[in-house]
């Protein structure tokens, strides 16, 4: 309908899929995507190749800004939302601009999680969530000899093996919290350790990071529970992702880990929806709250949320893509447990 303004926060797979659906379902409405990254919609999973120089920035791009112009979608890049006010249907941007919406979709994805126990030395930890992080890693890459990887989430395996392939020494610490947010059995951990070992990664079982000291520019000592003191050039923290919804605290929306939504991806406030890695929905089949992981899930939920925003009534339904393959090992990821 004319005069309506659909605003999407987040320029990833969920946001883009939603924008497509909104644009075709409401040809006269305004559609705006707001992203805090200055880079266009890109393939996050290619970042691990990017950091070792296996591909360039141009290879990461899914859609250039031209696409949005052609489809009459206003794409705001590099603009951060600082808060939203559902009562006045307004979002507020960091550069002091406010935008009114008719319907709002929050799909801002996840951000690398650093557990509070590591806060004391978090400035020495490197994470890889967005292109900004990846650029830093890529720049440091030629000078890295030895890298310590802790946490052990799904991304860490791929990163570890890629680094080993390009000749870096990789020390991988696996403890019972590895694979977060999944809880996998000891046998599966063993399988992963062996797979890593075959790719040239040194695996330390039942070991965890307890401290990091900086010994020089980009030089660290990583201390471990098992008594280790590893001299290295980088400590990579791969503790999984948490929804990047800090900016929604105090807005009146129900938040747990992510933005709580019902089966139709509506939040606790009229007119505000959420989809993708930032949304949390109760799954009766899992008897638990669930946050999606992965690109296809995000697309699916983004489209679904958009349809609901347009007035349809569609439920999120059963679990979508639920099996990941990592280094030849199949992992069932259809649920997300609390940590």
């Amino acid at each position: 309908m004319a005069g309506e303004h659909y605003v999407v926060i987040g320029n990833g797979p969920a946001g883009n899929e939603a924008a497509d659906v909104l644009r075709s379902g409401a040809p006269d409405a305004r559609v705006t995507i707001v992203s805090d990254e200055f880079f266009p919609f890109y393939y996050r999973h290619r970042l691990r190749d990017y950091i070792v120089g296996g591909c360039d920035e141009a290879d990461l791009v899914v859609r250039t800004p031209d696409h949005y112009r052609e489809n009459d979608v206003r794409l705001r890049l590099g603009q951060k939302v600082t808060r939203i006010d559902p009562a006045t249907e307004t979002i507020f941007l960091a550069h002091m601009e406010k935008i009114r919406y008719t319907r709002l979709l929050v799909c801002c994805g996840g951000t690398p999680r650093v557990p509070e126990v590591h806060y004391a030395y978090r400035q020495h930890l490197s994470v890889m969530g967005t292109l900004r992080h990846a650029r830093v890693l890529r720049q440091k890459m030629p000078d890295l000899r030895r890298v310590v990887i802790c946490g052990g989430d799904m991304i860490s395996f791929r990163v570890a093996t890629t680094l080993a392939t390009v000749g870096k020494e990789v020390v991988f610490l696996i403890d019972e919290d590895a694979f977060w947010p999944l809880e996998l059995t000891g046998e599966v951990r063993e399988e992963f350790s062996r797979a890593l070992g075959r790719k040239g990664v040194e695996v330390r079982q039942e070991d965890a990071l307890t401290g990091v000291d900086a010994t020089g520019h980009d030089r660290y000592i990583a201390r471990t529970r098992g008594g280790g003191a590893i001299d290295c050039d980088l400590v990579g923290a791969f503790f999984g992702f948490v929804p990047a919804i800090e900016f929604l605290r105090g807005s009146g929306l129900d938040i747990e880990r992510g933005l709580l939504v019902n089966e139709r991806l509506q939040t606790s406030r009229q007119g505000v929806y959420a989809a993708g890695d930032c949304a949390e929905i109760y799954r009766p089949d899992l008897r638990n709250y669930w946050v999606s992981i992965g690109w296809p899930n995000a697309q699916h939920l983004g489209a679904l949320a958009a349809r609901n925003m347009l007035g349809e009534t569609v439920d999120a339904g059963g679990p979508a893509e639920s099996v990941f393959e990592v280094e030849g090992i199949r992992v069932n990821t259809s649920w997300w447990r609390e940590f």
Partner: protein, 595 residues
């Protein structure tokens, strides 16, 4: 004036635009920026744009190009936009480079409405730096609106333009004001600088390395109008009579301040007719006199100029061309008064017309205009345009340098009585001239056709002889005046570009670019528009595969003269688009036809 030892800064050329609403101080900030840069030895070219409304909410943009080497044009696209007013700055984004920089206020009093924030319109590749301009301004000057000065602090830190140079410039700019004003403005600058240093992550490559190329204490950054005023003073102007009109008014303002100290007089007349009457009258009395006006004023002056031609009285008229016709576009540039300058009169009324191409020539040619007017006993029209009148450059000028346009003192012959013939026919056409009051050299002077003694005479042969005499004066001038400037390689050219006035800068840039891309390109650029340098034009035209004329009027006024002289069709790159002709337009036209 010491020259600092330096390995050379990384950057050598930057275009900075400061955009605000009227009252935001964008122009003043631009002036300080220019002064600071020039004081550090950089070249500066600046062309501000003002809202058409004299008071009101229009957009004001100070546009400065700072460079290590002297440049010919102020540049069309900006490298950096300082946004003092968001809504206006949004409209200015179109003239910012794709990888350009925007400096904006990160903490305005309240949130901008949707789409009214300049930071919301940044394209990928652009870099935005948000600084709390308003808050820092309130802290520094506690009342005065100094966001513009705070922004200069940010610019200084960001681009490595030495902060001390700015502080010096601020001190100089506010030199006449109280200590407090200077201090608080420097405080505002410092706050902007410190905030930038503390909080900004520099992500752009522009860096002048915080070095001064030289310390120039007596730097002059002047506009064409200011240069013209100085030319008048150095020429010994005794009377300026004029009527204010945009964009010539500045000349009168400057002379009003400076001329009385030299013993000269400035009179604001009731209209342009009176003004030119004063000038011709004063010229008759033997004094150097001048007026400045714009197109509509020149129209009113035509009859009296005609009198000057007929009575062979010297006068200098500066016409600062603007968009026409009629009241036209008072604050926009155009080069459409060539026709009226050359032909505007009843009867055959030949007079020299000069057109400077940059600010230094504004000084030199105005200075020369007085010499030429006196030597050849004729009104001389000097054509400026809004662009030249208001654009500012750092200049070094001198009387000696102006002599490259020739010296004409030898035409000043002392008359002898027995009996005295004021309009004696000579080979050069120039008659020895007596001034009123000289004993035994009394003579009549009239707008009627006259004989050699000045007595009215309407016979055919006398008229013919006098016409030819007056025409011959110009031919003599043409023979003495240096040939038009020619640039480019010797021999045949694929493209020849003819241009005049302020468009010459863009034309020279275009020739450089075409040459770099492999084309044989050259140009010819006259300063003496009339009499027409026909021989030079024909000689140049003969070498050119294609002849192109670039000027900012829509019919091609000089192009028509070139065609007449060279008997060939020329390609007109003629646009009256209220702005200077961009280099790219000339280059594109040449490539289109040739390439």
């Amino acid at each position: 004036m010491a020259v600092s030892e330096t390995t050379g800064p990384a950057s050598s050329d930057v275009v900075i635009k400061i955009c605000g609403a009227a009252g935001d101080g964008s122009i003043a900030a631009g002036q300080i920026l220019n002064l600071a840069a020039a004081g550090m030895g950089y070249h500066v070219m600046n062309f501000d744009s003002f809202p058409a409304e004299i008071r009101g909410f229009g957009k004001s943009v100070a546009h400065s190009r700072i460079s290590v080497e002297r440049v010919l044009t102020p540049g069309t696209m900006g490298d950096c936009l300082v946004a003092l007013d968001d809504p206006h700055s949004i409209t200015e984004l179109a003239s910012l480079r794709g990888n350009g920089i925007v400096i904006y206020d990160s903490r305005p009093a309240d949130y901008h409405e949707e789409d009214q924030a300049v930071a919301g319109w940044l394209q990928p590749g652009m870099i935005g730096y948000g600084v709390p301009l308003r808050d820092l301004s309130a802290e520094a000057t506690k009342g005065a609106k100094s966001r513009n000065i705070v922004a200069l602090g940010v610019v200084s830190w960001l681009f490595g333009l030495d902060a001390d140079g700015f502080r010096w410039a601020i001190g100089k700019r506010f030199g006449g004001k109280s200590e407090t004003v200077r201090e608080t403005n420097i405080a505002a600058f410092n706050l902007g600088w410190e905030c930038a240093a503390r909080e900004l992550d520099k992500a752009d490559p522009i860096d002048f390395g915080n070095v001064a190329l030289a310390r120039v204490e007596n730097v002059s950054i002047v506009s064409g109008n200011e240069a013209a005023a100085q030319g008048c003073i150095d020429a010994g102007l005794r009377l300026y009579a004029g009527y204010p009109i945009t964009p010539a008014t500045k000349i009168m303002e400057v002379l009003g301040r400076k001329l009385p100290a030299t013993g000269g007089v400035v009179v604001q007349t009731e209209d342009e007719i009176s003004a030119i009457g004063h000038v011709v009258g004063g010229g008759f009395a033997g004094k150097r006199c001048a007026t400045a006006t714009s197109g509509p004023g020149l129209c009113l002056m035509v009859e009296c100029i005609n009198l000057g031609v007929m009575a062979e009285v010297p006068a200098v008229i500066i016409d600062c061309q603007r968009g026409g016709p009629s009241t036209g576009l008072p604050t926009k540039t155009e080069q459409s008064d060539l026709n009226i300058a050359i032909f505007g009169a009843s009867g055959e009324s030949p007079r020299p017309v000069l057109a400077p191409t940059n600010v230094e020539e504004c000084y030199a040619l105005v200075l020369k205009a007085f010499e030429v007017a006196e030597a050849f006993q004729t009104p001389v029209i000097v054509l400026f345009d809004f662009f030249l009148s208001s654009r500012m450059e750092d200049v070094v000028w001198s009387r000696e340098a102006a002599d490259r346009f020739g010296v004409y003192e030898d035409f000043l012959a002392t008359p002898t009585p027995e009996p005295y013939a004021r309009y004696a026919i000579t080979e050069t056409g120039v008659s020895p001239r007596a001034y009123p009051g000289m004993p035994e050299l009394v003579h009549p002077i009239t707008g009627l056709e006259h004989d050699e003694h000045g007595l009215p005479n309407y016979s055919g042969p006398v008229h013919t002889r006098m016409q030819r005499k007056r025409q011959r004066k110009l031919e003599t001038l043409l023979a003495r005046w240096p040939a038009p400037e020619v640039v480019g390689p010797e021999g045949d050219l694929e493209v020849g570009i003819v241009s005049w006035g302020s468009t010459v800068g863009a034309a020279k840039n275009a020739i450089k670019r075409l040459s770099e891309s492999g084309m044989r390109a050259g140009g010819i650029f006259p300063r003496l528009m009339w009499p027409l340098a026909g021989d030079a034009l024909r000689e140049f035209s003969a070498r050119c595969g294609m002849l192109l004329v670039a000027e900012t009027n829509s019919s091609g006024q000089y192009a028509a003269l070139v065609e007449q002289a060279t008997h060939r069709d020329v390609l007109r790159v003629c646009e009256a688009a209220a702005m200077p002709l961009p280099t790219a337009a000339i280059e594109a036209a040449a490539l289109k036809v040739h390439g």
